[in-house]
């Protein structure tokens, strides 16, 4: 019995193998993440239905019933239990996956808050959804952003391929012993979760080469490693626990860079700067910055405006936590004005900004060059961010660049 209970020895990532053929599949962003779970050979997955996250659980269920994925697949009685179950499974050494959307994610909040301090490398998918102003299920980023202060790593993706790739990277980063923090991958409801696209599905060999097995080491709850996890922690302990979690988050950027470099080496696909993507910024006078699938109308609008001679670029944030503040400040300092598009709201925030605008402004404060910043609240509750919307926003940014006073935050695409 002892042998059966003993944790298997850690295996190093297999030596670099030559890529075998990738398969191309027509799948949604959610399904791409389910495929990543299969490739990562996830041990425990929990589910509770809520749109748009449920598209992942449906596809995982299909993979399990087809015999393609061997895992414990547990449909919990609520999101709270859903996240508690994987939290505990991860503590005993299982690779886990979980996810939710909107108020489902909020219902799990008690579990979400303690997950980072317990150093649980859970990977979760947040199918971004409005916070249920009766029944609203369109995209808004407030659900995932609600955990931004708690030690969760947060990343936004804008297409199905990136969803799959980022899920693999998320396991690699979260389960790194230097980190052991959860990671949530945000996928815009509908635009990403419900649209099928052609996705290159890498071979199992490549994934094995990229992703070592999850080794919890001295934190493993196991009869051979008798520990108590999560005893009562009062005022004599909490600051030290927080500082430990903060230290892990401080190490995260280095580990993210390493993971993206290895990803490129093994899968032959490069994402450039892991933290944010720059689009036509080289000679840009002004830029827009935003997260998620609004990148598509923004890029199309930029191409139109470029033809009209307007030098505008776009910065798409991927990692929101950790936030690459210095790097972003250096980049944004090159432009005459910056427009931040928030698909979220933060009512009562400084200058009525959205969450991203507030963070960008904070990142720029110590920078030598601080361009004017405009905030735009746009695309809430799943409303489409249109090309004309983007043109309108860019117009304001150009005016700010010319020194014309602009209101702090504008609502775009609002009936008024």
């Amino acid at each position: 019995m002892t042998e059966a209970l003993a944790p298997p020895p850690q295996t190093q990532p297999a030596a670099e193998k030559q890529p075998t053929t990738d398969k191309t599949s027509l799948i949604t962003g959610s399904e791409a993440i389910a495929v990543a779970c299969k490739l990562a050979d996830v041990d425990v997955i929990t589910a509770y239905p809520i749109r748009p996250y449920d598209t992942v659980m449906q596809y995982v269920a299909k993979l399990v019933s087809n015999g393609e994925l061997d895992c414990e697949y547990i449909v919990a009685e609520s999101e709270h239990s859903q996240f508690e179950i994987v939290k505990h499974a991860s503590a005993v050494g299982a690779r886990v996956f979980c996810g939710s959307s909107g108020v489902g994610w909020m219902y799990a909040f008690e579990a979400l808050t303690v997950t980072p301090a317990l150093r649980i490398p859970m990977v979760a998918m947040v199918g971004n959804r409005a916070l249920d102003d009766p029944g609203a299920f369109g995209v808004e980023h407030n659900d995932a952003l609600a955990v931004r202060d708690l030690g969760w790593q947060l990343v936004w993706v804008d297409n199905a391929q990136e969803a799959l790739d980022t899920a693999l990277i998320a396991y690699r980063v979260a389960e790194d012993r230097r980190i052991f923090l959860p990671c949530a991958i945000s996928c815009d409801g509908a635009f990403l979760t419900h649209s099928q696209a052609l996705v290159k599905v890498p071979s199992q060999e490549k994934v094995k080469a990229f992703l070592p097995r999850y080794d919890r080491g001295d934190l493993l709850l196991h009869p051979d490693n008798p520990i108590t996890v999560a005893p009562q922690a009062n005022e004599d302990w909490l600051m030290e626990i927080r500082r430990q979690t903060a230290a892990a988050m401080e190490r995260s950027p280095t580990v993210i860079r390493e993971a993206y470099a290895d990803f490129e080496r093994i899968f032959g696909r490069s994402y450039g700067n892991p933290f944010f993507e720059e689009y036509q910024t080289d000679d840009a006078d002004v830029v827009l910055i935003g997260m998620g699938t609004l990148s598509t109308p923004v890029k199309v609008a930029i191409r139109q405006m470029r033809q009209e001679g307007k030098k505008v670029g776009f910065v798409r944030m991927r990692w929101f936590r950790p936030f690459a503040a210095e790097e972003l400040a250096a980049t944004l300092g090159r432009f005459k004005a910056v427009g931040v598009i928030d698909r979220d709201f933060s009512l009562g925030a400084p200058y009525a900004s959205g969450v991203l605008a507030t963070e960008v402004r904070a990142a720029l404060y110590p920078a030598p060059k601080r361009p004017p910043i405009l905030g735009f609240i746009c695309g809430l509750g799943g409303r489409e961010v249109t090309v004309p919307d983007v043109r309108k926003m860019t117009e304001s940014v150009f005016q700010a660049a010319e020194g014309k006073t602009q209101a702090g935050t504008k609502w775009i695409g609002l009936r008024e």
Binding site: A117, D218, L219, A230, P231, D236, W237, I241
Partner: protein
């Protein structure tokens, strides 16, 4: 800068929570009667809802608001004019749910400050229970059984007002007897309680405790680790497995003694301890099974020895023991040290029987724990009698 007064009330969780709060409130109100501002609070990190766990309430009073703010700037006072101890067994020192290590009962008492203890014991007994202090301090005893009630019931045995009357005597600068009696009338609307306070004021005597007196032991301490020294993930090492016990006479090994937490010993929760008659034990295992703190060590011959580092004194062993004269709960004031009873019995069975008899004979009245029906009705008139007649 005016004068700052601080008073701590050391009490036992649940049983004395309301008592401590009442005393603490009345201190502030009585001082306020004389124009002094003040605050009253329970130590937030304590767990006063746990049976018997040592906990503290504080009253901070000053001659003016600015001075009071000086006192409020630190959450817990570093020194107090008066330490009120509402259960004499707390004199052995306290280790609360929230503290680490054993704190001597007089740790915060200022040089020359006063320890007020509710007890039937003589000063010598209480002085030897408390740890030695580098500077002299005063000891005042409010004669009576420690007042134990519950979270929702309050045993109105006048302990509260008798302590307040005593305070007016030992620290008249804080408040006068007239002020405290006025507050008693306003708060409780009870002339008899005001009289009790006056009687306590008249009768109190204090003795000076010298640095040469008291328990010379160094209380066990615990060094808090730095954040870089702690294991990550709020994970702490498990307590190792236990081991066999060794018979002091024969050297035979056997039985089982669990390992226990070396940094949190729990025993200051105890107000009474089980004494075990090993000659009558029938080895039924019930005490060992029922003990909520796993405090029983199993001896090589299969007897059950209550380990005094771990026993919280709840009395469940006595309640479940099917033998009428095997396990008996005896008040903690009757003991020094935490040595094994089984070892003492193995070394000298006859002597042990004599010791046992003496302890049980001197067993003071039971104040709490597994109680018998009608116990309050028996006790309250006695307390009132003491209050009236002394």
């Amino acid at each position: 800068m005016g004068r700052l007064f601080a008073v701590e009330i050391v009490y036992r969780g649940i049983f004395q929570k309301n008592l401590a709060k009442n005393i603490s409130r009345a201190i502030v109100l009585a001082a306020h009667h004389e124009g002094k501002p003040g605050i009253s609070f329970g130590r937030y990190g304590d767990s006063p809802e746990r049976n018997g766990i040592p906990a503290k309430s504080f009253a901070i009073v000053a001659t003016d608001d600015v001075t009071l703010e000086e006192g409020m700037a630190k959450y817990e006072p570093k020194e107090v004019d008066i330490t009120i101890v509402v259960d004499d067994t707390l004199c052995k020192g306290v280790e609360s749910w929230a503290w680490y290590g054993l704190q001597p009962i007089n740790r915060l008492t200022k040089p020359g400050g006063t320890l007020i203890v509710t007890s039937h014991e003589k000063p010598e007994t209480l002085i030897s229970m408390a740890h030695r202090k580098e500077t002299p301090y005063q000891l005042a005893i409010v004669k009576g059984s420690p007042s134990f009630s519950g979270l929702w019931v309050y045993k109105d045995d006048h302990t509260d007002v008798r302590i307040l009357g005593t305070m007016a005597k030992v620290l008249p600068e804080l408040f006068s007897l007239a002020s405290v009696q006025q507050v008693i009338r306003e708060e409780w609307n009870d002339e008899l309680k005001a009289t009790s306070a006056g009687r306590a004021y008249e009768r109190v005597t204090t003795v000076t405790v010298q640095p040469t007196q008291g328990n010379p032991e160094k209380p066990f301490e615990f060094q808090m680790p730095k954040w870089t020294e702690m294991r990550e993930g709020i994970a702490i090492p498990g307590i190792p497995k236990g081991h066999q016990m060794k018979d002091p006479n024969t050297g035979t090994t056997g039985g089982y003694q669990p390992e226990r937490n070396p940094t949190f010993k729990k025993f200051t929760t105890r107000t009474m301890r089980p004494v075990v008659n090993f000659d009558t034990c029938i080895k039924c295992t019930l005490c060992w099974l029922q003990c909520p703190d796993s405090c029983f060590d199993v001896t090589p011959e299969g007897l059950y020895d209550a380990n005094m580092e771990a026993c919280c004194g709840c009395g469940v062993c006595e309640a479940v023991c099917p033998v009428s004269n095997c396990v008996t709960m005896v008040n903690e004031t009757q003991f020094t040290g935490n040595d094994s009873q089984w070892k003492a019995w193995r070394e000298d069975k006859e002597g042990y029987q004599g010791w046992l008899k003496e302890k049980i004979a001197n067993r003071p009245e039971r104040s709490h724990g597994f109680r018998f029906r009608g116990q309050y009705e028996e006790q309250v008139p006695d307390m009132l009698k003491i209050a009236r007649e002394g």
